[in-house]
């Protein structure tokens, strides 16, 4: 009997704080959104569960040097291993054909990064320091691994909130983007049909990741961990002679690594660090970042149209926000509302995948200047 009482006294129940209970609610909301609403479940489900676990007292799960989840965090995320490996998988999944068929759309992938920089300045003006502002800004790139990669290097205390903001808004792209897309374009712009792109030879798709890696890494060496892995994965895919490696990168590796990405990221969100006024601003600015990026992508397309006879449908600018392929789908849908025979999906994939590289480059630039 004494033993039972002693055992009961060691339970975490007595150490619960109101903050922890609030975090439980947040965790359960994320898990609900993941399961019931299919909001980025691959990340939000483990993140949600990680938040729950770290807000249970006395587990030691995140104790530096000893905790189970701390080890995932330390060796996977702090050592910057997992985000680049995710990029290996993403590169293996990405088809640059649509971009190579319409090369000028690469500028839209760059243009949509405008929101990243705009948000950086707004965040800085609002009182965040430079490194925090950069991490918040990169949310606008709509890229989870890049956000996690940059946050880990520049502002680890904001890793959890920035990651949750990034993935939540990615899931909300179909709600966030259309109003801005309609606001910034006229109906006659939205019904622009794209002309057939150029034919892409298989050799081009092999050369692209090699040249891309060389050029980008020479220009922005700090982006190498992400860009190198992305291009390698893409080269695996296009070479067509390493199907086992490609398949593993796209499937087993990506799936396993995703498990070890979400859980520790959620586990950084303990009550003390997350329940701060700053965090509300992170979510507000993250939303702003997505909105700005959508806008700058569209505006760049309109600018390009001033200088070319072969007009670009400006909606494609919104696909530069690299939530792949969600933003491309949204562009297709909004265009189809104006003209149902306008099939923009494959054109939209061009800026969509270019945006992934654009965001990684932006992260590299921030790291170079602020790291």
């Amino acid at each position: 009997m004494q033993t039972l009482i002693a055992l009961f006294k060691t339970s975490g129940v007595f150490y619960l704080t109101p903050g922890m209970l609030i975090m439980w609610v947040i965790a359960l909301v994320l898990i609900y959104l993941a399961i019931a609403k299919d909001y980025e479940p691959l990340l939000l489900l483990p993140i949600g569960f990680g938040i729950l676990l770290v807000n249970l007292p006395l587990t030691g799960l995140m104790t530096p040097g000893e905790g189970l989840i701390w080890r995932f965090y330390h060796y996977g995320i702090q050592w910057e291993v997992i985000p680049p490996l995710i990029f290996l998988g993403l590169g293996a999944l990405t088809d640059f054909g649509p971009l190579l068929a319409n090369p000028r759309l690469i500028f839209l992938g760059a243009g949509a990064q405008g929101g990243v920089y705009l948000t950086f300045f707004v965040a800085y003006a609002m009182g965040f320091d430079l490194k925090e502002a950069a991490t918040i800004g990169i949310i606008g790139g709509a890229d989870g691994p890049t956000t996690i990669f940059l946050a880990t290097k520049l502002a680890p205390h904001m890793l959890g909130s920035c990651a949750v903001a990034a993935y939540s808004y990615m899931a909300l792209v179909p709600i966030i983007q259309p109003p801005i897309m309609k606001l910034l374009t006229t109906r006659s712009e939205r019904v622009i049909h794209m002309q057939k792109g150029r034919k892409v030879k298989p050799l081009e798709k092999i050369v692209f990741p090699i040249i891309g890696a060389i050029v980008i890494i020479l220009l922005v060496p700090a982006s190498a961990p992400l860009v190198a892995m992305f291009m390698l994965g893409n080269l695996f895919r296009e070479a067509k002679v390493v199907e086992r490696l490609t398949h593993a990168s796209q499937n087993e590796l990506l799936n396993i690594i995703t498990i070890f990405l979400g859980l520790p990221v959620g586990a950084t969100m303990n009550a003390e660090s997350f329940l701060q006024p700053k965090v509300i601003f992170v979510f507000f600015l993250g939303l702003l970042a997505f909105m700005f990026s959508t806008a700058t992508g569209i505006l760049l397309a309109k600018l390009m149209n001033l200088f070319s006879r072969n007009k670009i449908n400006p909606l494609l600018g919104a696909a530069g926000v690299s939530a792949v392929p969600m933003a491309a789908r949204v562009v297709h849908k909004v265009a189809a509302e104006a003209d149902k025979k306008n099939y923009l999906l494959m054109y939209a994939m061009g800026p969509n995948v270019a945006g992934v590289i654009g965001t990684a480059v932006a992260a590299g630039i921030f790291l170079t200047l602020l790291g």
């Binding site: 789908r329 025979k341 099939y343």
Partner: protein, 71 residues
């Protein structure tokens, strides 16, 4: 005057709503292709009669494949 319905994107044919001999009008839904986990309806380009249907449900198509011919 025969007009081909070309696939505007690569994907999988999810449903075919026309059959040879059908009288069709412009903007009718001819078939649905699934790509990027999204279903894209493909529409008839002109009034006429369906002369050929070259794909069936489940077929994988590439961009510019001829899906059907309308006369």
């Amino acid at each position: 005057m025969a007009e081909e319905i070309l696939a505007p994107l690569a994907g999988k044919v999810v449903s075919v709503n026309i059959a040879v001999g059908d009288a069709v009008e412009e903007d009718d839904e001819a078939l649905v292709i699934e790509a990027m986990k999204m279903e894209t309806p493909i529409y008839i380009p002109c009034n006429g009669t369906v002369k050929e249907v070259r794909v069936k449900q489940g077929a994988e198509v590439e961009e510019d494949d001829v899906l059907a011919v309308i006369e």
